[in-house]
Amino acid sequence: MNAAASKPQVLSVQDLVYAYRTADGEIEAISDLSFAVHEGEFVSIVGPSGSGKTTLMKIVAGLLQATKGSVRILGKPLTGRVPDGVALVFQDYSRSLFPWMTVQRNVEFPLSHRRASRADVAQRSRESLSAVGLVDFATRYPWELSGGMQQRVAIARALAFRPRLLLMDEPFASVDAQTRADLEDLVADVHQQFGTTILFVTHDIDESVYLSDRVLVLSAHPARLLLDREVPLSRPRDQVATRELHDFVRLRAEIAGLILRPGTEKTASSPQDTSPGGR
């Protein structure tokens, strides 16, 4: 299981701080965060809502610039530009798909402004659409599809980009339970099949354990790292059987203890300054 750690680092975050500048002063969203993601790893970040997960994803995707600290992608520091080879699947999928484009055009969007031949683009979009089971919907518009299907389009679009690092920001937060389970297994399949390195953000503890090789637990606002733990579960995993395993239950309970009763943990570990206005 620890094999991943010897692989090259795809993402390395060092002493990251991020503060939003607003009219009422600065709001610190991330305070001093460090972690790394290795090639082929599936890492989940779990934390309460408002803890700074989306902020972190936007920084890694190059949409926001870190206030302090460094972020390296494949060894190269982020320098105010959008990094190559990173794709982000947004929390708000319906707003991130372009309603004036068909499903196929949406999927081809990240390729269309690159130097790729028409045939290559078509081939890649077909491949990604078939990976998410939406080949038959290529000529439809996103708004003609259900929420779960729209999220699959967003995933296909990210896959067509063939990212070295796939960022997913609470991608299944607003779909029903059945769809959610299907999409979780879809992403797990994609990870296995393409060997994609995935950084997956969720506020759902079960989901984080079920999907990943490693779980990072963030504190409530502003984000600090509370736990970085390998998930001792073999693949492929099963929606029912895996969730009943002793290791699964124990890890879930440990994370729940950190997130739901943060006070008890704080006194136990090294003393940290309590910041006002959590959530």
Partner: protein, 271 residues
């Protein structure tokens, strides 16, 4: 799914038919009232002719090239003006919508100039362009620019930041994202601005021609025709101008509905 969408289509067709019938009935009632009032004869028939007289005259006018050529001349000036103001106002509006500082610096100026009616500027236009079609074009440009500019800014402000972030996250530069994401998002708003402009442009073109006179355009034609003492041709021309305006608006709406099928406001009606 298929049956419901077919059901929707049928319901939509029925609603469209009902709307057309109501519109036709409304016009018939108005014409009947007009006919009766004019027939009573409490105003001289040269000043207030009956509906049938005016409509008959309008149909006859359509056959006269002396008149239809003037209509074409007015339409030409109006379209030229619309094209110029679109070419100027859309890029300007997109830039103002994109750069908040430029918008804040210009918005008061825009709000102060917008209410200045074209007619108030006629003397200036005549000085600059003489008694020609260019005067008409310039005043159409003045009036059309504002709704197109303001709607373009509004369209840019309504572009979803998530859509822009998506474009940026896939490595599109600012200008590519503007062209490929912001502009298509704002397009329905820009089109609304152009449709509003079409509505006022025709009225402004005809009014300008009536002031500059000299027999050019529908406006000029109306001034000449009314000098004969009878108002019947004036009414007939007015009816035809109204009809042209209606058709232009109808045509443009059809185009919008087709192009922006994807936009929320058209998803129900679009097929």
């Amino acid at each position: 799914m298929a049956t419901t969408s077919a059901g929707y289509a049928r319901a939509r067709a029925r609603a469209g038919f009902r709307k057309t019938i109501r519109g036709v009935v409304g016009i018939m009632v108005a014409l009947a009232v007009w006919q009766v009032l004019a027939s009573i004869g409490f105003v001289r028939p040269e000043w207030f002719p009956t509906a049938t007289t005016v409509l008959g005259d309008a149909v006859a006018l359509l056959g006269q090239s002396a008149f239809t050529l003037q209509v074409l001349s007015t339409l030409y000036d109006m379209l030229l003006g619309l094209i110029i103001s679109t070419v100027v106002a859309v890029p300007l509006g997109v830039l103002l919508g994109r750069f908040p500082l430029a918008y804040r610096m210009s918005s008061v100026l825009v709000e102060a100039m917008r209410p200045i009616p074209a007619l108030a500027l006629t003397p200036v236009a005549i000085l600059l362009f003489g008694l020609s079609g260019a005067t008409t074009v310039s005043l159409v440009v003045w009036t059309s620019t504002w709704p197109i500019l303001i709607n373009s800014v509004y369209g840019m402000h309504s572009v979803d930041p998530v859509a822009l972030d998506t474009a940026r996250s896939f490595g599109l530069g600012r200008w590519t994202a503007l062209y490929r994401v912001a502009l298509p998002s704002a397009a329905p708003f820009i089109a609304t601005g152009i449709r509003i402009a079409i509505g006022i442009a025709l009225a402004v073109a005809v009014a300008t021609e009536m002031v500059t006179g000299a027999g050019s355009g529908v406006g000029g034609w109306i001034v000449q025709a009314s000098s004969g003492g009878s108002l019947i041709p004036v009414y007939a021309a007015a009816v035809l101008v109204g009809l042209v305006g209606y058709l232009l608006n109808y045509l443009f709406e059809r185009i919008e509905r087709r192009l922006f099928r994807w936009h929320l406001s058209y998803r129900k009606e679009g097929a």
